[in-house]
């Protein structure tokens, strides 16, 4: 029985960390703000729960487990809203998203600074 637990938590953790790294790299390399928001969104809303589930599987049944569940719910509730709110605030803040990669770079410099 424990072996199965070990394996599933290992898979969860691996998947979580892989997504984390891809998100981080995405955050750096994406040319425009809104694509970066997408990359950051991925890590926050998907990698975090995966990692936390992996953690939960490793812990024995106790108060701590409930607390991790609480954190999971809280993160699930706040992160997507935060990312959405940030994207909206930036849009209002006057940053135009980079519409199409190919034409606009040939023409004037991308609308946003």
């Amino acid at each position: 029985m424990t072996l199965v637990l070990e394996w599933t938590s290992a898979i969860f953790l691996l998947a979580g960390s892989f997504l984390c790294i891809t998100g981080g790299v995405g955050l750096l390399r994406m040319p425009d703000f809104f694509s970066r928001v997408h990359a950051a969104g991925v890590t926050e809303t998907l990698a975090a729960p995966l990692l936390l589930c992996g953690l939960m599987l490793q812990m024995e049944w106790s108060l701590d487990l409930v607390k991790v569940l609480m954190i999971l719910l809280f993160v699930l509730a706040t992160n997507p809203t935060a990312t959405q709110a940030m994207a909206k605030a930036t849009l209002i803040g006057g940053q135009k998203p980079l519409v199409t990669e190919s034409e606009s770079t040939k023409g004037d410099s991308p609308s946003n600074s």
Partner: protein, 310 residues
């Protein structure tokens, strides 16, 4: 460390504030690693949370960009170098990190570790020492918070002067955010109460609880606008609430004095001393929580209420 360097070099004040928030967060993680749970808790709640919010709200009122430094940095580098040398000179003889033979662990601390459970009957020794052994320090600390709140009130008033400005702000029409925040705030306030009364067993206590409680209100204020926040918690109440908190703390001390014991001796509170300690610590933490909550919120009201005059 490199965050500190970035903070020095960066001229965009907004960036500095963000980096300062990250810096105090990393300090909190470092404290966790050094087995200082309560301190990490406070540093995260107070250092990263409140300071960033206050800095941002005051930055909003003043200019954001910083003029380039004019006079040459030579003199200040000299002074810094001298003090740095004195510091490094001091550390040469200091006991190594974590070695048990250091005098710190031999003299006063062992008593706390052994007797605290017996005399004060609380697993969390830090709260035991904070509230009863060195209760007077915490009383002084509550007064420091009270003085700071008073000073800010004296300086800024409550910003009632702000006429109800119609804010066409990006946040107010974000429906998604409003719904989620409406869901979250009861949870935050509940968590604050948990931290307040959980101080004896795990990390927690009056200060952290007061700050979290205030953060809940600040969040409400930021998302739903100043008017509704003031409707919920009118500004005039806050100084009275803070004064009440300090009086609770002082009252416990005076009560133990009247009962013939020295000031702030909780064993006077009830027949069996250990139970008295429990009761005393609980009351004292409550007093601290109320004071910190009302002061942090009144500082936020004072800073956020003001319009940009200049």
């Amino acid at each position: 460390m490199l965050i500190a360097i970035a903070a020095i070099r960066m001229r965009d004040l907004f960036g500095v504030v963000i980096l300062f928030g990250v810096y105090s967060l990393l300090t909190a993680v470092l404290f966790m690693d050094l087995d200082a749970v309560d301190v990490a808790f406070t540093e995260a709640a107070v250092g990263a949370g409140v300071t960033t919010v206050l800095l941002l709200s005051s930055l909003r009122l003043t200019r954001r960009w910083e003029a380039p430094p004019r006079h040459n940095p030579f003199f200040s580098l000299l002074v810094v170098g001298v003090t740095g040398a004195a510091l490094v000179y001091a550390t040469l003889d200091a006991p190594l990190l974590g070695d048990p033979s250091a005098p710190v662990h031999k003299h006063v601390a062992p008593h706390y570790l052994q007797e605290a459970a017996g005399e004060v009957g609380m697993p969390n020794i830090v709260t035991a020492v904070l509230a009863s052994y060195r209760g007077y320090d915490t009383f002084g600390e509550t007064l420091v918070v009270f003085t700071a709140g008073l000073a800010v009130l004296l300086l800024l008033g409550f910003g009632e002067s702000g006429e109800s400005r119609i804010e066409t702000s990006a946040i107010h029409d974000q429906v998604v955010l409003k719904v989620v925040v409406k869901l979250l705030i009861p949870l935050i306030l509940l968590y604050a109460l948990y931290v307040q009364f959980h101080g004896d067993f795990g990390a927690g206590g009056g200060f952290q609880a007061g700050v979290i409680f205030a953060t809940g209100f600040i969040l409400y204020d930021m998302v739903f606008g100043v008017e509704n926040a003031r409707a919920v918690m009118p500004a005039a109440w806050l100084p009275r609430l803070a004064a009440l908190g300090v009086l609770i703390y002082g009252g416990v001390g005076v009560y133990s004095m009247l009962a013939g014991k020295p000031f702030l001796d909780y064993s006077a509170l009830s027949a069996d001393p250990v139970h008295g300690q429990h009761l005393g610590v609980l009351l004292v933490e409550l007093g601290v929580g109320i004071t910190v909550f009302s002061i942090v919120l009144s500082i936020f009201y004072a800073l956020s209420g003001r319009r940009r005059q200049s």
